[in-house]
C-alpha cells in the first residue's frame, strides 16, 4: 500500500473517510518524508511540525463530530506569498522577516472551511519574481528529478514538494507562468485560473492585474477539486468575478470527440528544445487520437508578449512593493536618522537584486515623460493580445502549446542573464495578459529523465474545458505515475 505522503488529495481523503487512518497519521508520515527529503530538495522555507499536528488532531476531532468537509484532514503546502493566519508570510524576502499574517487569504479561508490543513511554507522566488526559485532570499530549491536542476519558478517550492511527495497538494501563484512553469519542470499539474475566478485577497501582490492563485497537484482531479473550493466571487476583492462556479468534477469525464483544439503557430518555433517539441507533438497526436480535431491558428501579437508583460508587471510591482518600508511590520534597519534614511536602508537591505531591478524598471516606465511610451503603449498591446485570443476562441475550444521552450535547466545556468531567464515565460505570459486560463499537465520526459509539460489554454472561464482535455489526456497516459528517486 502506498504511503500517505504519496497519495493524491482524493486518495488521502478516501482513506481517511474509510477510517483506514487518521489525519494525524497522515501528517506524521508527511512530516517524516519532509524530514527525510527536504534536506536535498529544500522546497520548504518553514514547517511548524507542532502546529501541523495540532491542525491534524483538530481535523480528526471534527471528523468524529461528523464534519463532512471536502478536504477534511488533507494537508496543503502553501507558497510563501499567501497569508495564513498566524503563520509567517515572508514572500521569500528578508524584508518580511518577522511578519506573521493577522488574517487568512480568502482562498485559504475557503480551503480551511472544507477542513484543509496548512502545512509548510513553500519556497519561491522573492515576491514571485523569477523563473527558477533561485531568487529566494533564504534557500535554493532543487528539482527532485535532478537535484542539480532548477524546479522552475516562481512557485518552485510548491512544484518540488509535490514531485518529491513531500506534500499531498500545494498552492502556487501565477503572474506570468509561475504555477505552470514549475509544474512543467517538476512533472505535476498546475492550473492558472481565469483572472477574477479566485479571490486575490490575501495574496501578496506582485502584479495586481495579472496575479492568480492556482492549485499544484498530482493529478487533474485534485486541481479541479481545489479550484472548486477556492473559486467564486469575494466581496473583499473588487476584481473577483460574480460568475457562477460550475461543477468542475462533473464534466471531467466527457471525451474529446467533437472538440476543436488549436495550435498557435507562434508557439511552435525554432528555439524550442527538440525533445520538448517531440513530447508536445506526441501529446497533440494523442489528443487527436482521443477524437479532438486539431487546427492551426494564429496569435500575431505573441512576439510582443514578453516586453508587454515585463512593463505591466514591473510598473504594478513598483507600487505594490512600496508598502515594505519598515514602518509597520517586517524588517527595519536600526539607527535611521530620518524616515527617508530608514526607507532607503531598510529597502536596500531587505530586497534582493531581482526585486530591486524590477522596482527600478517599473518606476522608470511610470515616470513622467516615459509613461506614454511604455505603460500606455503596453496597455494597448495588451488589448491586442486579448483580442487575438478572443478571436481564436471563436473557433477553438482550447489551445495546445508547450509550457516552456525547454525542460528544467541546471542551477545557475541563467542567473547571470536576466533576459535569457525572462524568455522562460515566453509561452505562458500571454495567458496572464489576456486574463484567460491555462494548465500544465505532464506529457513526457526528455532523454535526461526530466519532465515536460503540455500547456492547455482556455478562454475566460474555460476551466471546465481545459480540465476536461487535461483529464482525458492524463487518464490515457501514465506520465503521472512516474516518480523521481529522492533519498
Amino acid at each position: 500500500m502506498a504511503e500517505w505522503n504519496e497519495l493524491t488529495v482524493h486518495e488521502a481523503k478516501a482513506r481517511l473517510d474509510q477510517g483506514a487512518g487518521t489525519a494525524r497519521e497522515l501528517v506524521e508520515t508527511l512530516l517524516g518524508a519532509i524530514r527525510a527529503r527536504d534536506k536535498q530538495v529544500q522546497g520548504y522555507l518553514e514547517v511548524d511540525e507542532a502546529d501541523a499536528l495540532r491542525q491534524a488532531e483538530a481535523a480528526d476531532a471534527l471528523r468524529k463530530k461528523g464534519h463532512k468537509g471536502k478536504l477534511l484532514g488533507v494537508p496543503i503546502a502553501v507558497k510563501d506569498l499567501l497569508n495564513v493566519q498566524g503563520q509567517s508570510c515572508r514572500c521569500a524576502s528578508r524584508i518580511l522577516e518577522g511578519y506573521h499574517s493577522p488574517y487568512d487569504a480568502t482562498a485559504i479561508a475557503r480551503l480551511r472551511a472544507e477542513g484543509a490543513l496548512f502545512v509548510g511554507r513553500a519556497n519561491m522566488d522573492e515576491f514571485a519574481m523569477g523563473s527558477t526559485t533561485e531568487n529566494s532570499a533564504f534557500k535554493i530549491t532543487h528539482n527532485p528529478w535532478n537535484l542539480a536542476c532548477v524546479p522552475g519558478g516562481s512557485s518552485g517550492g510548491s512544484g518540488a514538494v509535490i514531485a518529491a511527495d513531500e506534500a499531498i497538494a500545494a498552492l502556487g501563484t501565477d503572474t506570468g507562468g509561475s504555477v505552470r512553469l514549475p509544474a512543467s519542470f517538476c512533472g505535476c499539474v498546475g492550473l492558472k485560473p481565469t483572472y477574477g475566478r479566485v479571490s486575490r485577497y490575501g495574496l501578496t501582490a506582485f502584479a495586481s492585474s495579472l496575479d492568480q492563485i492556482g492549485p499544484m497537484t498530482k493529478d487533474i482531479r485534485d486541481a479541479a477539486l481545489l479550484l472548486q473550493v477556492m473559486a467564486g466571487h469575494d466581496g473583499m476583492d473588487s476584481t473577483s468575478i460574480m460568475a457562477p462556479v460550475p461543477d468542475y468534477a462533473a464534466n471531467l469525464r466527457k471525451d474529446l470527440k467533437g472538440m476543436k483544439l488549436g495550435l498557435p503557430k507562434e508557439y511552435f518555433i525554432a528555439g524550442v528544445d527538440p525533445e520538448v517539441a517531440h513530447c508536445i507533438q506526441q501529446a497533440i497526436r494523442h489528443c487527436e487520437g482521443l477524437g479532438a480535431t486539431i487546427v492551426e491558428v494564429g496569435l500575431p501579437a505573441t512576439p510582443y508578449a514578453i516586453a508587454t508583460y515585463y512593463i505591466v508587471a514591473c510598473a504594478e510591482a513598483s507600487a505594490n512593493l512600496a508598502r515594505f518600508d519598515g514602518v509597520r511590520y517586517g524588517l527595519r534597519v536600526k539607527d535611521a536618522t530620518d524616515p527617508f534614511d530608514m526607507y532607503t536602508r531598510t529597502r536596500a537591505a531587505g530586497f534582493g537584486t531581482e526585486v530591486k531591478r524590477r522596482i527600478i524598471l517599473g518606476t522608470y516606465v511610470l515616470s513622467s515623460g516615459y509613461y506614454d511610451a511604455y505603460y500606455v503603449r503596453a496597455q494597448k498591446v495588451r488589448a491586442l493580445i486579448r483580442a487575438d485570443f478572443e478571436k481564436v476562441f471563436q473557433s477553438c475550444d482550447a489551445l495546445l502549446t508547450p509550457v516552456a521552450p525547454t525542460a528544467a535547466y541546471r542551477l545557475g545556468e541563467k542567473t547571470a542573464d536576466p533576459l535569457q531567464m525572462y524568455l522562460s515565460d515566453i509561452f505562458t505570459a500571454s495567458v496572464n495578459l489576456a486574463g484567460i486560463c491555462a494548465l500544465s499537465v505532464p506529457c513526457g520526459f526528455t532523454s535526461a529523465n526530466l519532465p515536460v509539460g503540455l500547456q492547455i489554454v482556455g478562454p475566460a472561464f474555460g476551466e471546465e474545458t481545459i480540465l476536461r482535455v487535461g483529464f482525458a489526456y492524463e487518464q490515457t497516459t501514465d506520465w503521472r505515475l512516474r516518480k523521481p528517486d529522492v533519498g
Binding site: 499567501l82 497569508n83 508570510c89 514572500c91 518580511l96 511578519y99 499574517s101 493577522p102 488574517y103 487569504a105 486575490r200 485577497y201 490575501g202 495574496l203 501578496t204 501582490a205 502584479a207 495586481s208 492585474s209 466581496g235 473583499m236 476583492d237 473588487s238 476584481t239 510598473a315 504594478e316 513598483s318 507600487a319 512600496a322 508598502r323 518600508d325 514602518v327 509597520r328 511590520y329 524616515p339 527617508f340 526607507y343 518606476t363 511610470l366 515616470s367 513622467s368 509613461y371 505603460y375
Partner: protein
C-alpha cells in the same frame, strides 16, 4: 503700482460615512490611536481595497448641488510617494477621470454676489497622522483611509475675503447636503491655497505659490493676507516670486518654504489595478438628483414664505442649516413664528457668539424654546424672567415650566400686591414723582424700574404701568 490678486483653492473634505473609503473600519473621531484599523487600511501584504459606495454617492450629491457634470465613467489611480503616515506609500485617488467636472459656488462678499467656478471634484483616501514625541515619531492610522473629497476651484477669487466667503458658502452647502459635518477642529475640512499677484496692466498671471494644509478659515484669510503682501513687496522691490510650496506658521503669522518646484514629486500616477472603474448610469444619477436636499437659498425663500418672516430674518436663520432646523421645529409649536425668530436672532445668536458654540452643542431644545415663549405669551412670566430662564436652558437644558417654579420666577399679577409695591416706590422717591408731574417722561420709567426691582423682576409690567399711572394722577 496696483497689483491684481488671483487665488484658487483645493479643499479636502472628510465625508460623513460610517466606514472608511476602502475597508469596513469605523470613522469615529477621537478613538484611541490605531484602534480603527485593519489589514486594508494598514497596507498589510495581500490586503485589497473595496470602494465605499456611500462615499461615491456623497461626492456625486455634492457635484449635483454645485451643478457639476457627473462623469458616467470615472476611475481610481495610484499616486506614488513615500511618507510614514501613508500605509501603502501610494494614495488611491482620482487622477484624470474624477467623479465630477465643473460646477460653481455662489458667494457673497462685501455686499457683492459672485460665482466661483469649480474645476473638478474627486474622491481619495485620507492619510494617517504623525506625532513627534521628543526623539520619537509615532503614527496613528485611525484616519488613514477616511473618505476624502477634494474640491478644486478655478483661480476665480481675488482677495482673502473672497476666499473666506467661498469657504463659508462651500461649508454651508456641504452641511446642508449632509455631506460632511465640516467640524474644523476635527479636521473635517482642510485646504491648500494657490495665489499669485501681477501688476496692473499685465495680462499673464504671476508666478504662484501654494500654501499647504490650512485647517481654519481664519487661518486661510491670515495666510493669504500675509503671503499676498509678501509677494507684492517682493515684486515692488524688483524681486521675483519663486514657485514653491509653503506652510503657514500660525504662531508667527508668516509663510515659510517647504519645497520648491525643482524638488517637485513625480507621482507616477497610474490606474489602480485593484479597483474597477466606477460606472454611473443616467438612472442612478437621476435617482440621486431626486434625493437632493434643500439648499440655503431655497430654504431662505421658503422660511420667508412659510413663516411670514422678514427677508433679513430668513437669511440669518437659513445661513446655518442647524439653526434653521432649530427654528422650524420651535416655530411648529408657536403661535407666532416671528416671536421664535426674534428669540433666535437675539438671545440665541448672542449666546452662541459669546460662548463660541455651534447650535448643535447647546442644551436647549426647540421644544423648550417654544414652551418658554408660551409662558411669556400667557403672562406666566415676564420678559426679564424669560431671558434668565433662556440662559439656563442654553447651558443646562431642562423644562422651562419646571424652572419657573424652581426659581420662583412666576409673574406677579395680583392687583393688591402690586398696588402696595407701587405705593412703596412713590413714597420712597418724591423727587421722581415731582419730576414726572413737571412733565419728565424719564421719571416714569425710573419709577417702573423701582417697582420691578421691588418685585424681584416678577411683576407683570402691564399691570404695574396701569397702577403707576393711576396713582401718580391722583
Amino acid at each position: 503700482m496696483n497689483y491684481f490678486t488671483t487665488i484658487g483653492l483645493e479643499v479636502h473634505v472628510q465625508l460623513q460615512t460610517r466606514t472608511k473609503m476602502f475597508c469596513a473600519c469605523r470613522t469615529d473621531f477621537g478613538a484611541a490611536p490605531n484602534t480603527q484599523v485593519c489589514p486594508v487600511c494598514l497596507g498589510y501584504p495581500g490586503a485589497l481595497p473595496v470602494i465605499n459606495q456611500e462615499a461615491i454617492r456623497l461626492t456625486v450629491m455634492t457635484g449635483l448641488m454645485v451643478g457639476s457634470r457627473i462623469n458616467p465613467w470615472s476611475k481610481f489611480d495610484r499616486k506614488n510617494y513615500f511618507y510614514p503616515d501613508m500605509p501603502k506609500n501610494y494614495q488611491i485617488t482620482q487622477f484624470d477621470q474624477p467623479l465630477c467636472l465643473g460646477g460653481a459656488v455662489a458667494i457673497d462678499c462685501q455686499g457683492q454676489s459672485r460665482v466661483v467656478r469649480l474645476t473638478r471634484i474627486h474622491l481619495e483616501e485620507d492619510v494617517g497622522k504623525s506625532m513627534h514625541v521628543r526623539d520619537q515619531s509615532r503614527v496613528d492610522f485611525n484616519r488613514a483611509g477616511h473618505p476624502l473629497m477634494e474640491i478644486v476651484t478655478e483661480p476665480d477669487m481675488h482677495s482673502p475675503e473672497e476666499a473666506f466667503a467661498f469657504l463659508l458658502a462651500l461649508k454651508q452647502i456641504l452641511v446642508y447636503g449632509l455631506i460632511s459635518p465640516c467640524n474644523l477642529e476635527e479636521g473635517n475640512l482642510r485646504c491648500d491655497v494657490n495665489c499669485s499677484v501681477r501688476p496692473e496692466g499685465q495680462a499673464a498671471l504671476g508666478t504662484k505659490t501654494e500654501i499647504k494644509n490650512m485647517n481654519t478659515f481664519k487661518g486661510v484669510h491670515q495666510a493669504l493676507t500675509y503671503e499676498l503682501q509678501r509677494q507684492v513687496a517682493a515684486l515692488a522691490a524688483g524681486g521675483m516670486i519663486v514657485q514653491e510650496t509653503l506652510r503657514f506658521d500660525t504662531d508667527r503669522g508668516v509663510t515659510e518654504s517647504m519645497r520648491t518646484k525643482e524638488d517637485a514629486h513625480d507621482y507616477r500616477y497610474f490606474p489602480d489595478p485593484d479597483l474597477m472603474p466606477v460606472a454611473l448610469s443616467a438612472e442612478q444619477i437621476k435617482a440621486w438628483e431626486g434625493m437632493l436636499p434643500e439648499l440655503p437659498r431655497q430654504r431662505c425663500e421658503r422660511l420667508e414664505r412659510e413663516y411670514a418672516l422678514p427677508a433679513y430674518d430668513a437669511k440669518v436663520l437659513a445661513a446655518d442649516k442647524y439653526v434653521a432646523d432649530f427654528f422650524e421645529e420651535a416655530a411648529r409649536g408657536a403661535a407666532n413664528p416671528k416671536t421664535v425668530s426674534n428669540w433666535m436672532m437675539t438671545e440665541m445668536m448672542h449666546l452662541l457668539a459669546e460662548k463660541e458654540l455651534e447650535i448643535r452643542q447647546v442644551k436647549i431644545t426647540p421644544q423648550a424654546l417654544a414652551g418658554l415663549i408660551k409662558l411669556v405669551e400667557s403672562h406666566a412670566i415676564n420678559g426679564a424672567a424669560a431671558k434668565t430662564i433662556f440662559a439656563i436652558l442654553f447651558d443646562k437644558g431642562g423644562d422651562p415650566a419646571v424652572l419657573v417654579g424652581q426659581l420662583g420666577l412666576a409673574q406677579v399679577s395680583d392687583i393688591g400686591t402690586l398696588a402696595a409695591l407701587v405705593r412703596q416706590a412713590i413714597d420712597g422717591n418724591p423727587k421722581s414723582v415731582s419730576d414726572y408731574k413737571a412733565g419728565k417722561e424719564a421719571a416714569f420709567k425710573f419709577l417702573m424700574g423701582q417697582v420691578m426691582r421691588l418685585s424681584k423682576g416678577k411683576a407683570n409690567p402691564q399691570i404695574v404701568q396701569d397702577l403707576l399711572k393711576k396713582q401718580l394722577s391722583v
